[in-house]
């Protein structure tokens, strides 16, 4: 598209037609798109979902590794969870912080209806609708008190609800009526509910990991189709309009409260459905699986992919879950760390001269520090690098590896946080120069402290993802819509 064809701003020469903001209406044409992006924009969305479904269905054909299939199952499970959360957060703009409680209710519902706990062994074909409708009703009840109020109140009520759910399930092994009757064991308390039945769909028993993987995938694709259809429907448009401007939506005659509660309840129902699958595969439920960390992880997926975008849900869950999984092995984690660091620098530092200066500077800086430390602080270089192979050998000549990394690693972590904050304040060459010691410090902290404690590191990274994304790219990877909470 040449420069002359671009429409001018409406306040320049032409006066926009009444009711049409020409500048906004032609937005898509002005966006500079490559050939590939134009081609992608023309393909109908469902084709992508179908392609994803086929690719995901081939996973068990590619590998027999149970671990990989299990990670695949979890990833699709997270996709389903993020899809449900997307309805409340992305479409209707409601900050639902009790979402994992609905997931938990679905799982506990399945556990109570198909285990020796109460001696009930219902057909899964009955349990699924009960779980979905039951969770949707609970969601409806939770949403009602805050229906007239600001979104902030909904956030705190739902967060409280989640906290309460965890407490109740953790202490639910001695529930008595106001302390008057003897304690009844309802949820198994901290021991959870074990020995769950496998899925049994009217005689079609699902027993293997592959079976659950396919059940998960089919469920997800069905939900994806349903959500896509809702998205295209009158209700979907109504949600988006009330997210963009609730006042205007109300003036157009939309039942704003009913729409919000509907979105909340549908999201909760999908969470409940995900819970039945999770409980079915695990064979046991524990309240710890339905706590705040899970919630934040699902939020990170949704935000990373882009709230309001179905494709973003798939991408976000894939990226976050697979990278969290890779972080579990220190060897892989270190590789991922340096590759990600390099990729980030390649993407952010332009022109290449700057990149060369920063990279070269960091390497030189590292060798200089290492040389000084060898003579001044011998115990600072004799520790073990976190990884073997040539990367580890390279690192041990460059990076400091204290023999007692714990304490100094902690201080270095705090210093790193401060350094990154200072970095955001600097501009131009000062920032590029300050980047050099910061990169070295980051590598030091990673190698000596973070990689040793993967379970905390992944949660810290999730927190960082949320903060950085919201500040730098609130629409996520695929999202474009702006999300307003009311």
């Amino acid at each position: 598209m040449s420069e002359q064809n671009l429409p001018g701003r409406p306040d320049e020469a032409q006066v926009p037609k009444v009711g049409v903001d020409a500048w906004v209406a032609t937005h898509a044409e002005r966006v500079h798109a490559t050939r590939l992006q134009q081609w992608i924009a023309q393909v109908p969305r469902p084709a992508f979902y179908l392609a994803f479904g086929i690719a995901a269905a081939l996973l068990p054909a590619i590998t027999n590794d149970g671990y990989v299939i299990r990670v695949g199952f979890d990833t699709v499970l997270y996709m389903l969870l993020a899809l449900g959360l997307n309805i409340a957060v992305g479409y209707a703009g409601l900050l639902d912080l009790g979402y994992v409680a609905f997931f938990g209710i679905g799982a506990y519902g399945y556990a109570m209806l198909s285990s020796p706990k109460f001696g009930i062994h219902l057909d899964t074909l009955f349990v699924i609708p009960i779980a979905i409708i039951g969770t949707a009703i609970v969601g409806f009840l939770v949403a009602i008190p805050s229906r007239r109020l600001l979104g902030d109140y909904l956030a705190i009520v739902t967060l409280f609800f989640l906290q309460l759910f965890v407490t109740v399930t953790q202490n639910g092994n001695k529930i008595s009526v106001l302390g008057l009757t003897r304690g009844y064991d309802v949820t198994g308390g901290p021991n959870g509910i074990p020995d769950l039945d496998n899925w049994d769909l009217a005689g079609l028993k699902i027993g293997s990991l592959n079976g659950y993987y396919y059940a998960m995938l089919v469920t997800f694709l069905l939900c994806l189709g349903a959500v896509y259809l809702i998205d295209q429907s009158r209700t979907g448009r109504a949600w988006k309009s009330l997210r963009e401007d609730p006042l205007a939506a109300e003036l157009m005659g939309m039942p704003v409260n009913r729409l919000k509660i509907l979105a909340f309840a549908i999201g909760a129902g999908i969470g409940g459905l995900a819970g039945t699958l999770f409980a079915g595969l695990n064979g046991a439920v524990f309240s710890a699986d339905f706590d705040v960390p899970t919630l934040i992880i699902v939020y990170a997926m949704l935000i990373l992919g882009g709230a309001g975008s179905i494709g973003g849900v798939i991408l976000g869950a894939l990226v976050v879950n697979v990278s969290l999984e890779v972080l579990r092995t220190p060897g892989h984690a270190t590789w991922i760390f340096y590759v990600a660091l390099l990729a980030g620098l390649l993407a952010k530092l332009r022109p290449w001269r700057v990149l060369a200066v920063v990279l070269g500077g960091t390497i030189a800086f590292g060798y200089a520090v290492h040389a000084v430390a060898t003579s001044a602080w011998p115990s600072g270089v004799h520790g073990e690098p976190s990884i073997g192979g040539w990367l580890g050998r390279g690192l041990s000549g460059w990076q400091l590896e204290p023999t007692q990394p714990r304490n100094i690693g902690n201080w270095a972590f705090i210093a790193l946080v401060l350094a990154v904050l200072v970095l955001t304040l600097l501009q131009g060459w000062w920032r590029r120069l300050a980047l050099i010691p910061t990169l070295y410090l980051a590598s030091f902290v990673w190698d000596n402290r973070l990689v040793v404690e993967p379970s905390i590191t992944r949660l810290i990274l999730i927190g960082v993802i949320l903060i950085v994304l919201m500040n730098a790219r609130p629409q996520g990877l695929l999202g474009s819509a702006r999300v307003e909470i009311v």
Partner: protein, 311 residues
């Protein structure tokens, strides 16, 4: 009726209510000015408790203090308040400032991220286990003056007295600051109408920074108070305290400072009586029930005025 139990629970409720009140003030101030629910506030309180704990470790650990306890207490307070105030300013500057005109959901999710980051960073640096916080034996002992003693069975310790008195002093100082000083006036103006205040020449950025500093400093003091009463700190302590304190702010009318204090004491009493007379597992359910009831019956809070929303 068992009066000893009643008085003990009353004292515990008012004391813990004071801690909630101090946290709730920070929530309320930030909400009043930015309309932002600062989820990270509970974790600022946790950091305050750990700063106090740091001094205990510096002076010889929990059971072998080798310095004047009053001096240590003062040190703990001053540094916890200043440290938390600075932390609050940093959170505002680096996480929230750029999002001030963004859609409402963006700063909320950022606040969640900050809270999660602080909690887990504390777990990494300080360890996940609980730390003992009990340096001063006399603090936990019952109050005794000139031979006069409390009836046995009533638990009213010096710690309780210090916490309540400290809270009252801080509240008086805050009221004086908000009502009498130039900056306090600017704060009220910004909270009333940010744009109009900016047009009147008020430096809104500065006011917001001051608000975060004061609110977070109060949370830091609350952290130390909680430490000397409950004798333990752990990285996730801020979550439930933050939730309860937010409930207190809502109950009192969010944005209303005296209301937040009253709400805090009310929540503290509800928590302590439900623990004493029912069971500690019920306290969350009861506080949640209070929150829902207030929101259904009087959404503007017990002391708040109904908000008229301009469009």
């Amino acid at each position: 009726m068992n009066w000893n139990l009643f008085v003990t629970e009353l004292v515990a409720g008012i004391t813990h209510g004071s801690v909630y009140a101090l946290i709730a003030l920070g929530y309320s101030m930030v909400y009043g000015i930015l309309k932002l629910l600062n989820f990270a506030h509970g974790d600022v309180y946790m950091v305050g408790a750990y700063i106090g704990y740091g001094w205990i470790t510096v002076f010889g650990g929990s059971f072998a203090m080798h310095a004047n306890p009053v001096l240590i207490l003062v040190l703990m307070f001053v540094t916890a308040m200043i440290g938390c105030g600075l932390l609050g300013m940093m959170i505002e500057r680096f996480a929230y400032r750029r999002l001030r005109s963004a859609p409402r959901i963006a700063p909320l999710i950022t606040a969640l991220g900050v809270s999660f980051f602080l909690e887990n960073a504390a777990q990494l640096v300080l360890g996940a286990q609980q730390q003992q916080y009990n340096p001063f034996g006399w603090l936990k002992g019952p109050i005794a003056l000139h031979g006069w003693k409390l009836p046995s069975g009533v638990l009213l310790s010096y710690a309780h007295a210090i916490i309540v008195a400290g809270t009252i002093v801080l509240c008086v100082l805050l009221t004086w600051f908000v009502q009498r000083t130039q900056t306090g006036k600017a704060m009220r103006a910004v909270s009333f109408d940010r744009e109009a205040a900016a047009m009147m020449g008020i430096d809104v950025d500065r006011v917001i920074v001051v608000t975060f500093f004061i609110g977070s400093a109060l949370a830091g003091a609350a952290g130390v108070f909680n430490g000397i009463e409950y004798s333990q700190v752990f990285p996730t302590m801020g979550f439930q305290a933050g939730l309860f304190a937010f409930t207190a702010a809502v109950v009192g009318g969010i944005g209303n400072l005296p209301g937040s204090v009253a709400g805090g004491v009310l929540i503290g009493l509800a928590e302590s009586f439900s623990t004493g007379y029912l069971s500690s597992t019920f306290q969350q359910a009861i506080v949640f029930a209070i929150l829902i009831a207030v929101m259904l019956v009087r959404p503007s809070g017990l002391f708040g005025r109904a908000a008229v929303q301009k469009v």
